[in-house]
């Protein structure tokens, strides 16, 4: 399966990656190889096999509903690029 330029641009948009038109053919080749791997996997007959949702054969441990986390805002915000009034500041998001 080969991807169209349109599909590559869509994927880049979803992943928030900027790509130049000159990179399209290189990406098509590389992604094509990934899809070949998937095709190989898809070709295996999995009739009657339950889909695997996790590679570990364990069940999810559960925790009791207790507040155990202290307020560490100052510690976390010390490494944030910009904070104000206790808020993390990001470029204006236009709705």
């Amino acid at each position: 399966m080969s991807l169209t330029d349109q599909e590559i641009k869509h994927l880049a948009k979803l992943a928030r990656i900027h790509i130049e038109d000159t990179e399209l053919s290189l990406l098509r080749d590389q992604l094509g190889k990934v899809f070949q791997l998937i095709d190989t996997l898809q070709a295996v007959d999995t009739t009657g096999i339950e889909p695997l949702s996790h590679s570990l054969a364990l069940n999810q441990p559960l925790r009791e509903d207790r507040v155990t986390e202290p307020n560490l805002r100052d510690v976390y915000q010390a490494v944030a690029p910009e904070v104000e009034k206790g808020l993390y500041i990001v470029p204006k998001v236009i709705e």
Binding site: Q60, L62, R63, R73, L87, P91
Partner: protein, 477 residues
Amino acid sequence: MQWEVVIGLETHAQLATHSKIFSGASTAFGAEPNTQASAIDIALPGVLPVLNKQAVEYAIRFGLAVGAEINPRSIFARKNYFYPDLPKGYQISQYEEPVVKGGMIHFLVEGKAYQVRLTRAHLEEDAGKSLHEDIPGATGIDLNRAGTPLLEIVSEPDMRSATEAVAYAKALHQIVTWIGICDGNMQEGSFRCDANVSVRPLGSDTFGTRCEIKNLNSFRFLESAIQFEVERQIEVLESGGVIIQETRLYDPDRDETRSMRSKEDAMDYRYFPDPDLLPVVIEESWVNSVKDTMPPLPQVLKERFISDYGLTDYDANLITSDRGLADYFMAMTSNASASPKQCANWVAGELLASLNRQQLAIDKCPISPNKLTQLIVRIEDGTISGKIAKTLFDILWTEGGEVDQLIDSRGLKQVSDSGAIEKIVEELMSQHPDQVAEYRAGKDKVLGFFVGKAMKASGGKLNPAQLNDVLKKKLAG
């Protein structure tokens, strides 16, 4: 052309846990920004989410309340999208195997019974909050809400009008608050709806193209938004246009819906099982133990009240409209000394009216169930009249105190001494000879005139039945 409206709702109910769904941070509302956002909630590298048992238990409770199937094995998935208030770049949700499958919501609209099928209910985490107005030229992010547990309840497209959709949402709201899994506070966003709305020619069996209206946080907005959207779609179709599948926002100030994003930039969420979380296994024994702790549901209680106590449908509905009110009523009836029917009259009448007048919830009611029962006992044993009981109720409400003490100290006792009643009646008859003559000439209605006068003269304290007897005897001459 005649159009049929098709509506399905997706409802987010915030679960009433103390801590978040995957971290030990508090979920309390109204804290200073980011003081309840732990390393997991702000997505620092290397952290691992651990599932809150209570959140799963609440989902089980919901499933049991709506007659759904509890999935013995459910899985969490990542829903991928970018937004500043979603620091991981994905929301942990459930996709292929939700914790609750199916179920049914029953409700009445103007006496007619409706049923809406549920598709599923799944657990997920809430995102943080973006504040666009607080910081000039920038957006501020508060991640206190990030990781708050939500139960997303998805209905089938079974509703055919805005009225039905609101009735469904109210029934759902009643259930989640009744079983104690959600505080139901819509202003704080604890219960909010997305509505999928489409129209089709009446009689058609295929669905029209739908639009999704996001984040409706009041029943009134839900109704207005659907009504606007239905009219908009019909107008587009009747003028020869087509409906584009899109997400829309409701603007309550202008009472209209506006396009938010269309299908071309529709989200492609690329769900996949979250490798940080293992499958959640719910043993039957767990489901059974949750079942044992479930309160009786409103519908069940309502029927019990009608059959055991002879309550009217109306009173039974009112009393079961709220868990606290039903508990209050049951606390009264557990004391067998007062008749349940009278208790219901007082709860659905005076008590509810007083609560509404002061906009109080039942748990803030100044009169305890026990005290109100005592008051009713005193009506039933003839100590006080029904009219005086209302006065006594007001005293208990505003000043507090004990029923019997107040009856004594305020002189509220009913006069059942026939000698005293006769004296009042005789006096009144001599003051109003014309009315006596009218009565004797066959105008029975004049009796009411004397009842009113006698009650007024005694401050409402005469035993009404006795007064009637004495009046009839004396007036007959």
